[in-house]
């Protein structure tokens, strides 16, 4: 199965729709341990990314990811902006300056996104950040797991942030009070991974 530049645009549209639907729930999660805006950032960012992706004419996969990266960053700022902008730039590089790839190669996109997030945010697994969803997803992808399993790895990773004490980002000042609450960035990440996996299955 092929994954074309048009499919990439569709993926960003799916991201946007999902974040729109989850906006208030993500804000509520962020309200418990952060500043209650994560759903807004993700919704605005993905809306802008999807818009920008849509307007890429006859471009390569990389063109689509690059346009999305820039749009996400400029619409959002915040923590999510640089993290996802860098992730998309890396993903675009991985997908390459070509009109399409196989859907299975979306695994390399997941891995690249993880790498971009690490590059920008310098997080390590276990610090209760979005990386705790992206890292297990990328590991599963690197191991060649199927779409279902990759999505499950991200979901489990997000769920596991409940038991972590935050040491990076806004919640890091909370100490033990962050225990018991999932990290909003990890939860939204697992949703994005789900959308990518849906695209992988076609």
């Amino acid at each position: 199965m092929e994954f074309t530049a048009e499919d990439a645009k569709g993926l960003f549209a799916a991201f946007a729709a999902r974040m729109q639907a989850e906006r208030d729930a993500l804000c509520a999660l962020d309200g418990v341990i952060g500043d209650a805006d994560h759903g807004i950032a993700m919704e605005q960012g993905m809306n802008a990314a999807a818009e920008a992706a849509k307007t890429v004419e006859a471009g390569t996969l990389q063109d689509v990811f690059n346009a999305a990266a820039k749009a996400f960053l400029n619409a959002v700022g915040a923590s999510s902006g640089p993290l996802y902008a860098t992730a998309f730039l890396r993903a675009g590089k991985a997908a390459g300056a070509r009109p399409s790839m196989t859907a299975g190669e979306l695994r390399t996109v997941i891995v690249a996104m993880r790498d971009g997030i690490v590059q920008r945010g310098k997080a390590e697994p276990g610090q209760k950040t979005m990386l705790d969803a992206w890292a297990p997803a990328a590991q599963a992808a690197e191991a060649g797991a199927d779409a279902e399993a990759i999505a499950a790895a991200a979901r489990d990773g997000a769920e596991a942030t409940r038991q972590m004490v935050a040491t990076l980002g806004r919640a890091a000042r909370l100490g033990d009070r962050s225990l018991g609450h999932p990290d909003p960035g990890a939860v939204s990440a697992s949703m994005l991974v789900e959308e990518i996996c849906r695209a992988m299955r076609g």
Binding site: R23, G31, V32, I40, A78, R120
Partner: protein, 336 residues
């Protein structure tokens, strides 16, 4: 649950509409470059040979940041969405529009998002051949232990720290000096706050967190981040005492030292309560043998519509006192 009560149009447009209202109100003080609607520049202040002081961060803290843009204080501000660091572009735009050719100092509160975005901005500026440095404010003593000062948040102490750095730049000191004074000011500024109600974002109009009546959050951040603990709402004197105990212990100033004081509203707490707090702050400082050189009272660094207050003490020395006394003329803060 019903929406919180706000005078807005569209939550997503709130920041841009606010900025339109700011420019309409203060055309003598502020302008925006045509293609950079989120960069707010001082009409007077920036000039050749002067270090360019750029502050910035998320919206919702007004008059921080844009209210401190003006002659003698910041040259420009980069404006983010509500509680969200601006992306790199407005920071770059702000720096270039106010560029005096003597280097740029980015001065802003220590938050993961701001650090990432301003660092990217600094990289972009360096690519254009403009030297850019960064100083992070970390005055919130409730946000990390004393030996991890670098992890602390920047909160209302911004006002004094921006003021000191802005004065240094206005005196035409070189970038090294402006940076040193900004760091020095930050090192001697201590803030702690309490929240009495949640704020709510214009986009969601839901309380950012639950705070039952009769309780307060101690050590609250300025974005509704939880503080160090919950506790029953106490009297103004007890709150002032708890904060002053913590600040005085950390500041460790000898008797006879001079301080500047800021009793700040987080948004919804009116002047009456702030001045009641200040009466106790003044008593505590006098008892510690400290001399109050200057006191600011009011909404200087807010968290949207949050009820609550913070107390900031800056431990002055001759240099900082000179910087704090230096005149400034901003749309929302004037002195001298």
């Amino acid at each position: 649950m019903s929406l919180t009560q706000k005078l807005i149009n569209d939550g997503n447009a709130a920041v841009d509409e606010m900025l339109a209202g700011v420019i309409a109100a203060h055309p003598e003080h502020l302008w925006r470059p045509d293609n950079a609607p989120r960069a707010v520049i001082a009409k007077h202040g920036p000039r050749p040979g002067k270090v360019t002081l750029v502050v910035g961060g998320g919206s919702g803290h007004e008059p921080t940041f844009l209210g401190y843009v003006g002659k003698g204080l910041a040259d420009a501000a980069a404006i983010g969405n509500v509680f969200a660091s601006p992306p790199p572009q407005p920071a770059v735009d702000a720096a270039l529009a106010a560029n005096g050719g003597a280097g740029v100092l980015f001065l802003y509160g220590n938050y993961a998002g701001d650090v990432m975005n301003f660092d990217m901005a600094a990289e972009l500026l360096e690519m254009e051949g403009v030297e850019a440095r960064t100083v992070l404010t970390t005055d919130d003593i409730a946000s990390a232990p004393r030996d991890q000062r670098g992890k602390r948040r920047g909160v209302a102490g911004n006002v004094f720290i921006f003021k000191a750095a802005g004065a240094a730049a206005d005196m035409m000191l070189p970038l090294d000096e402006v940076e040193r004074i900004a760091r020095h000011a930050n090192a001697r500024t201590f803030t702690m706050g309490v929240a009495l109600s949640s704020c709510s974002l214009p986009q969601t109009r839901r309380p950012s967190f639950d705070l039952p009546a009769g309780e307060m959050e101690i050590g609250m951040g300025i974005h509704g981040e939880p503080g160090v603990r919950r506790g029953p709402l106490r009297t103004a004197n007890e709150v002032a005492d708890e904060i002053m105990d913590a600040i005085l212990a950390e500041m460790d100033a000898p008797r006879g030292a001079r301080v500047a004081v800021l009793v700040n509203s987080l948004g919804a707490t009116p002047l009456m309560e702030l001045y009641i707090l200040n009466a106790r702050v003044a008593e505590r400082l006098a008892a510690a043998g400290l001399t109050v050189h200057k006191t600011l009272v009011g909404p200087y660094c807010t968290s949207l519509d949050m009820a609550g207050a913070s107390i900031t003490i800056m431990h002055l020395d001759d240099e900082l006192q000179r910087m704090i006394d230096h005149p400034c003329d901003c749309a929302m803060f004037r002195q001298g």
